[in-house]
């Protein structure tokens, strides 16, 4: 992921001479892209190395320390402690596991279900398409979070179910996205060429069509990871996600709500973590979109 960014950056820095798109915009782009890359790497790092990098790993995992409840941020506890005396910084670090995993898995589920269905729908058309469209219509009629809540409550409270619930409510977007890409790709000459060679339909979809739908899907997915984190946090906030004492940013936000004015750090830091991570993924999505664009679109001037 970061190497693609690096490549994209190199493309912009190395090859531009002679006053291309204004210096300010370019600089701003580069800084933001770099910053978001750092944030994402950091959250991945937190996920992987939580027990080693958090100052109080047992507390991060949930061990209450009764004597240290609700301490304000200090040099010993940079983010303070929560109502069970646990170091908030460690909780935030451990929380990354749940939240980022949620974001990534949800998106993967939505893609795994939505992309093949959308591709089949767009490519084969006729009744498959009609059926698919009607099904997605039903799903799309509801606000996605509402659907997720309904599914999650029906399935029972757990991390896995929360992921599934959100994933199930999101696949229709990918299906629609892929379907419309496939509809236009289907008419292209190179697809006709593959048919005239005698390549089987499945192979045409896998080899010729799907790879060309990648860029909008990837862009959408990177932005969705951010939204999925938010959705997961939302479900946890409502008590439908992971069970305590597992650290989860949404849960932590909710738990600190009542004492927000007096003990601001309990909610604020997890909230900030959500904010920064979601923002980073969104910027990644932007950067990816821009990276794909010049590749595809040649700015050729009238000659």
């Amino acid at each position: 992921m970061s190497s693609m960014l690096a490549e994209g950056l190199a493309k912009r820095t190395g090859e531009t001479r002679n006053g291309t798109p204004g210096p300010i915009r370019f600089f701003r782009h580069e800084i933001l892209a770099l910053a978001s890359a750092i944030v994402i790497l950091a959250s991945l790092g937190m996920m992987a190395f939580a027990p080693w990098i958090s100052p109080y790993p047992e507390e991060g995992a949930g061990l209450p320390v009764v004597s240290h409840q609700l301490l304000a941020p200090s040099s010993v506890h940079p983010f303070g402690t929560d109502d069970l005396g646990r170091d908030v910084l460690s909780r935030v670090i451990f929380g990354a596991r749940v939240s980022v995993t949620m974001g990534v898995m949800v998106t993967l589920v939505a893609i795994a279900v939505g992309v093949p269905l959308g591709a089949a729908s767009g490519f084969f058309g006729r009744w498959i398409d009609e059926a698919m469209m009607r099904i997605t219509d039903v799903f799309l009629a509801f606000p996605p979070l509402l659907l997720a809540i309904v599914f999650a409550s029906a399935m029972g409270r757990s991390f896995g179910n929360a992921m599934l619930a959100i994933g199930i409510s999101w696949w229709p977007w990918y299906a629609r996205l892929v379907r419309s890409e496939v509809l236009s790709l289907r008419e292209q000459y190179f697809v006709d060429a593959a048919r005239s060679i005698g390549v089987k339909d499945i192979k045409i979809i896998l080899r010729h069509i799907l790879p060309n739908t990648l860029s909008p899907v990837i862009v959408q997915a990177s932005m969705d990871i951010g939204s999925a984190i938010l959705a997961g946090a939302g479900l946890s906030f409502l008590g439908l996600g992971v069970r305590p004492p597992i650290a989860d940013w949404g849960r932590m936000l909710s738990d600190g709500r009542a004492i927000l004015l007096s003990h601001w750090w309990v909610s604020t830091f997890p909230g900030l973590a959500i904010f920064v991570t979601v923002l980073a993924f969104n910027i990644l999505g932007d950067a990816l979109r821009d990276w794909f664009d010049p590749h595809m679109r040649t700015r050729r001037y009238v000659a």
């Binding site: 090859e15 531009t16 001479r17 002679n18 291309t20 700015r299 050729r300 001037y301 009238v302 000659a303």
Partner: protein, 325 residues
Amino acid sequence: MSAPLLVVEDLHVEFPDETGMVHALRGVSLTLDRGEVLGLVGETGCGKSVTGLSILGLVPQPGRIKSGRILLDGQDLTALDEGDLRKLRGRNIGMIFQDPVTSLNPVFTNGRQVLNVIERHLHLGRAAARQRALELFVSVGLPDPEAILEGYPHQLSGGMQQRVMIAMALAAGPELIIADEPTTAVDVTIQAQILDLLLKLQRERGIAILLITHNLGVVAETCHRVAVLYAGRVVEESPVGEFFKEPRHPYSQGLLHSLPRLNQAADWLTPIPGNVPSGHEDLPGCAFAARCEYATDRCWQNQPPMYAAGAARRVACFLAEEAGW
């Protein structure tokens, strides 16, 4: 012998792109007399459309005219600002673009497209303006002009849309029309209709036309003179009769020999080897040297100037010195 209507002097236009600076025009010079039809021909990338746009001051950003002059009736267009140029566009210079589908605004009626031009440049009352629009539609051969006036572009065929474009170009009575590939997007029988129409209007109204095209057949049938563009420079300028009978510049010869002809059988066509230069390189010598069978060292090092090659012909080739044209 009156002064020419349009004089382009050593025009240089450049565009930055991802990989550097593209020198789209490297010193284009041409002249157009009143009432004359000049064909500007070349292949993709030669700079013909850029030339047309430069005359109108419509070079797309971030491209720009680096140097050179464009004189319309003695007035230097490169020295004008956008406000003055806008007064000229439509009034003194009309433009016809290649693809009417993208040039006509789909949400305006056909009448509105033309009325916009009329209202901007001629100060006529509503009724008079509408009358003029109707007359224009009749003169461009549109059947049922009243109905078309109220209708929309998408209801018309490609040929009829192009006629509406011609009406727009003529609306304010310009002396010069720049037509950029006006018939490339239409079928050959419609092309014949459009070209005939253009010639008829041109003769009736004494309009000069700069006809930009890649189609040498169209040039042969409609133009008085032809200017051949290669890699941003004019390499040959000549009356059409002489040009087709005896092209002088090696590129012109190459072009004509590589075309299949309707009334001549041929076993093999003779393509021009190599590719058109991309415009990024700075070519010190003749841009065609890499593909020219007559190229000498001198050709690689120095750019040939325009030599006179007959009463009204000019050729940018060192061969002129030896051949005694």
